[in-house]
């Protein structure tokens, strides 16, 4: 996720201080991973240098950051370009789970057990996200659903890999 574009996008609604930007980011997109203040200030300095934001004013206060940032026309153009450019789908071709299965088979370890343990861990997280979804609002539901669909895809792969373990072991022996 591009933090600089996201912060820039938040600024389109109106000028804000760095602290305010961090809080809004955390509320809307932070979920399990809040932004560090340092990240926000470093990003804003870069955006300032590139002409995408400007300092609209300073405000008195106790916090370390009192600059109030506003988005520039160049910033609006940049956000627009980012929003309309499709994200590159993850290729998922270099995969830790696959590497573990292959290494387990090559070293004569129990690859089926490894897949079972991983399946149980995926299912445990899916139960947790489902509970969170049940108790949450629409934003929680959408965020959890995104994670749930990805975990489901992993689980389908785990099931398929388990069904093909013997053949894979044979191919690796050649």
């Amino acid at each position: 996720m591009s933090i600089s574009h996201t912060l820039l996008g938040l600024l389109e609604a109106g000028p804000r201080h760095g602290y305010d930007l961090k809080r809004t980011f955390d509320e809307r997109f932070g979920h399990d991973r809040a932004l560090h203040y340092g990240q926000v200030y470093a990003t804003m300095s870069r955006l300032l240098k590139n002409g995408f934001v400007e300092v609209e004013g300073f405000e008195a206060g106790d916090g370390p950051e009192r600059k109030r940032y506003a988005i520039t026309d160049a910033g609006v153009t940049d956000v627009g370009r980012w929003l309309t450019t499709p994200e590159k789908p993850e290729p998922y071709l270099r995969n830790t789970l696959y590497a573990k299965v292959v290494l387990a088979l090559l070293s004569g370890r129990n690859a089926a057990e490894l897949l079972d343990v991983q399946t149980a861990e995926h299912l445990r997280l899916m139960r947790e996200l489902t509970r969170r979804k049940r108790d949450g609002d629409l934003v929680d539901q959408l965020v959890c659903d995104h994670a749930l669909f990805h975990l489901e895809a992993d689980l389908r792969w785990l099931e398929l890999a388990a069904a093909r373990l013997d053949r894979l072991a044979e191919e690796l022996r050649r």
Binding site: E113, D116, V117, T119, A120, E121, H122, L123, R124, M126, R127, L129, T130, R134, L148, F149, L151, E152, L155, R156, E159, A163
Partner: protein
């Protein structure tokens, strides 16, 4: 929301806690269809109020396990105990009574009686158990409301959508206050949103009434509504959670 009151004579009396664990237990089940083994030493147990997902690929023996647990088919070998009583030791009529009163069923395609209205469908298990029509239909109406399908009261199954039909089926399964609900791919014929809503309503209602749910599914997102999952593989039941405990 408070669950509708159970009509008299349909709910089992609560047993002493010690005698009730586990509520349903199967040990060493074997079942073959001709030369093809479906179950080969399967064991399973579920406590009162627990939701357990039974997962596994097609043809792994999931549905056969469910049918053995519910007393619909008799295993070639092995035992199934419900509240301490062995199912195979019961007479046919005792087993039928058990399936009407203590067990509830939800299948992939509703299996509602097409000639009856939805209200009559939900009231049917209570009527068969001897509850007077007015009381049974009163309770059925409350359950249809709880499952958000009050508008289907007077409609027949052919006049409602698949999602509504599944909710009516869940209402029918739970209205008689069963101790165990057997749900075999209950969302298999539904789109994602409808399927999730049916699972939310089914598990919430079961938890409120204290019913155990045996949930057969091949979909992990559906299984995620359970308290734990087991996997049927090669006719045996594997508790994945137990295997992974040491790795958490």
């Amino acid at each position: 929301m408070t669950p509708p009151a159970a009509p008299p004579g349909t709910a089992a009396e609560p047993d002493s806690p010690a005698a009730d664990r586990p509520l349903l237990r199967a040990a060493g089940l074997h079942k073959s269809y001709g030369a093809t083994p479906a179950l080969a030493g399967a064991s399973f147990s579920i406590d009162a109020g627990e939701v357990v997902a039974v997962m596994g690929p097609s043809g792994s023996g999931k549905s056969t396990l469910l049918h053995c647990l519910a007393g619909i088919i008799t295993p070639d070998e092995g035992t199934v105990h419900f509240q301490g009583a062995e199912l195979s030791a019961l007479s046919d009529s005792e087993r039928s009574r058990l399936r009407r009163g203590d067990f509830g069923f939800v299948f992939q395609f509703g299996r509602l009686v097409p000639e009856l209205t939805c209200l009559e469908n939900v009231a049917l298990p209570m009527r068969l158990a001897g509850t007077p029509r007015r009381a049974a239909e009163g309770t059925a109406g409350e359950w249809l409301a709880r499952l958000e399908v009050s508008d289907t009261h007077a409609k027949r199954p052919g006049q409602i959508s698949g999602g509504q039909g599944q909710r009516v089926a869940v209402a029918r399964a739970l209205a008689a206050r069963p101790r165990v609900v057997f749900a075999d791919e209950p969302t298999g014929a539904l789109d994602t949103l409808n399927g999730e809503r049916v699972m939310e309503l089914l598990t919430a209602a079961a938890r409120d009434t204290g019913a155990a749910v045996v949930l057969v599914t091949h979909e992990s997102r559906v299984a995620a509504y359970s308290d734990r999952e087991v996997v049927v593989r090669d006719g045996r039941v594997r508790d994945l959670g137990a295997g992974a405990a040491g790795h958490r």
